[in-house]
Assembly symmetry: C2
Homo-oligomer: 320 residues x 2
């Protein structure tokens, strides 16, 4: 039996699916579901799908829930509950998702950018439980980030702070999707990794990667790079080393600027594990300002599966 107010709904709004769950104050998922976002049918349909998904969870539990937390892509104003121009949701301009969902369910609703929600999730349930200040990095298609300072999200002037992915490591580097040049995202996103391996693969005819992709470079994925590295493949290892070096260089700037020494790293590519974490830490320890050097910590995120649901639900526990 669910006890009063120690449970919240977490909604992880993605471009393909909406993942939803009831999460306990301790971060345990009690019940969960997934519904298709139907993003191609526009914002009204996506909102219908969110409501549909929440209704599945609410069912007989409504009275016992402390609220609904939503992690959304794009520019989110956590104060107003608005979501602007989420990259994978066509047709969305500026929608007050918070007030729409609040009207529907008449309960507390909090909306937050998904990277910020992930950081709050780590702070409340995960690797940041006992850490006052840290920077959260999510490695996936892109490089997301969020700043937690003294157990509070540092949001900046309009809630957009923490864009670690768009700090440059090479001002004359490749053009980034954001319009700038040499952002760490262009050196550490999934597509860069795959492109880099493709480029070098012919120079390593003996690489284990060839077997893992059935000789077809189209089958390349971060998982395959990881699998090859685990088996001692030199190309895969060098790619992971390089990734760590690039990330370490970017995070050194971040650490110097914020005077924050702990970095929590999550997302698919973080699965590269200790070789990646070791290189990031080594690079940072060589590059940050002297007083920070002994303090640098680079640790893996704890919320893996369902990180999105847990992060979103944590908004309710964080604010209440």
């Amino acid at each position: 039996m669910i006890t009063q107010s120690s449970y919240a709904v977490g909604v992880d709004l993605g471009g393909t699916n909406i993942k939803l769950g009831i999460v306990s104050e301790k971060g345990k998922i009690i019940k969960k579901t997934v519904v298709p976002a139907k993003a191609e049918d526009g914002p009204d349909m996506v909102i219908k799908q969110i409501i549909y998904g929440i209704n599945i969870l609410f069912n007989k539990n409504k009275a016992e829930l402390a609220g609904i937390g939503i992690g959304a892509p794009g520019i989110v104003s956590n104060k107003k509950g608005t979501v602007e121009y989420p990259p994978n949701l066509p047709g969305w301009k500026k929608i007050n998702l918070g007030s729409i969902i609040k009207k529907e369910f008449n309960t507390k609703v909090l909306v937050e950018n998904d990277a910020n929600a992930a950081a709050i999730g780590e702070m409340i349930f995960g690797a940041g439980k006992n850490i006052g200040s840290f920077v959260m990095i999510t490695l996936g298609t892109g490089v997301g980030g969020a700043i937690v300072f003294n157990r509070k999200l540092f949001r900046g002037e309009h809630g957009g702070a923490g864009e670690v992915g768009h700090t440059t490591i090479n001002y004359k580097g490749e053009k980034c999707n954001c319009g700038s040049y040499g952002c760490i995202e262009t050196y550490a996103g999934n597509s860069y990794l795959i492109r880099r391996v493709k480029k070098d693969l012919n120079k390593f005819p003996g690489s284990l990667i060839w077997d893992l992709i059935d000789k077809n470079p189209r089958n390349l994925s971060p998982k395959i790079i990881h699998a090859a590295a685990l088996k001692g493949d030199r190309l895969a290892a060098s790619v992971i080393h390089n990734l760590g070096f690039h990330l370490g260089s970017a995070l050194s700037s971040v650490s110097n600027l914020l005077n924050i020494s702990t970095f929590i790293i999550g997302g698919g590519v973080a699965g590269f594990g200790s070789p990646l974490f070791k290189t990031i830490k080594e690079t940072m320890t060589q590059r940050v300002l002297t007083p920070l050097r002994p303090e640098i910590k680079v640790i893996p995120a704890k919320l893996r599966n369902d990180a999105g649901i847990k992060g979103a639900s944590s908004l309710i526990f964080y604010n209440s």
Copy 2:
């Protein structure tokens, strides 16, 4: 006649001189003095000189002063009042300057890193008077910085936040004094500027700079570069343009990370004026994330002469 508590002493501790002044709540200097730091004689002598300088100012005004603010180089803990390893003060390890001065004068004493003091000075007396959040940059021998968020200094975990000078723009760039590579300080410090002009000067035999330095590159200084640029010299103009481009690239990363859109720029090199400010702003407007683009403001610091004294005194008005 000085009225109760609306005046403070500001102490600007430098490697060569200690500048001191009595400053009004409105930022007006009522009385000031300069004493040699005698840094080569070690910390005890420097502290004696600080006390000597303060005594000159205190004279008959003691009762009317709200306290003493000290801006110091190096790593400063504003909570403890300690100054660690100031680069231009040989023999200093970790000295509790705050408690020494407090014991001597039995009044409120606040010690802050000099870049932070400059930022508070701009916030209280200068260009940041009506601005909630901004990043302060000081261009001199090095590139200093400080972060003001919602009218408070963002200090980070140990008071060292705001080191804009040590954000990298080229992770494979030149080695910086800090041990890292390609920090903006290596592209925007005085010595880089002078080196850059020296390198190119022979390619510009008609440059006005030749006259201004009496044909001797040893006479080069930022002031001469500025003077040449004002007269339309192409080499000088291109150096200033490049400086703005480099700074704009670095500050774009800073703006994306902090979601702060206003940058106040001071220090000697800021005297390059509108061509510099224009290029920084143009570069940033092209490089920051889309929502920030219409918001970017790059404005000159207002405290010029006596910025150090005013910034240090502002610590008292800021905290009290």
